[in-house]
Subunit: 151 residues, 2 copies
Amino acid sequence: MPMARKIDEIDMKILKLLAENARYTYKELAEKLGTTRQRVSRRMDKLEKSGVVIKYTLIPDLNKLNHVHVILGLTLRPTVDLDEVVEQLKSIDYVKIIEKTLGSHSLIIHLVGPNDMALTEKMIRSIAKEIHGIDKMDITFVTEICKFEVI
Amino acid sequence: MPMARKIDEIDMKILKLLAENARYTYKELAEKLGTTRQRVSRRMDKLEKSGVVIKYTLIPDLNKLNHVHVILGLTLRPTVDLDEVVEQLKSIDYVKIIEKTLGSHSLIIHLVGPNDMALTEKMIRSIAKEIHGIDKMDITFVTEICKFEVI
């Protein structure tokens, strides 16, 4: 893992503001921080290049879009090559989020698809079939997002 | 649950572009869609008001910020009032994400805190102690985000 560049207090303030609303303009950020647009923009460039910012995105209410959101907690056999499994999962379009984890699960993945039980079952069974070395799969359906903050 | 307003193809295109990069300007979105800034802005207003957009945010690499990211899968006793538990959790600052779920877990929550094992243990134990009716708690530490898409 590459060492992180030193993140100072102003960086943290910028990150927290963008976590609150990623669409704040440079002007709005500069006003909130009492600095200039140029300074904000320069710092954001650095934060983006250093990999601290994975992405700016929107969090949708998938129910309102008539989509299902399933979280699978996968426990893999200890001998399995985790990176190989990750590469395999990355190429599956409906696998939206992949997190490497330690603890109860080896991987947590999020599936998103049309709100149709037969299709949902197909997605889940296809993961179970195609990924070798799954010891246990915890299946959880997200019904409501009650809080969403990141830092 | 209130009925969603009809989401058409152009709405979906806007949402997908913003999911890809929430910082696209109205101008950039309009160019990508072959329409005007005014039309994009009007549609985004509607999508925001309808609750389809929960928020625009950044996804940080918490490791690089020297933070830990823990996902707890909580299984609650069937008699527990889920909404009461959610309200209790909402007020805890280090509980960043709360999702109501069906299946292996009744709730999935994300904790974020300083990268310190003693503090992390304290956060987790405090949840276990303060929230009544937890039958089972799956504890998972996120070590790497390998893919992050939303729709």
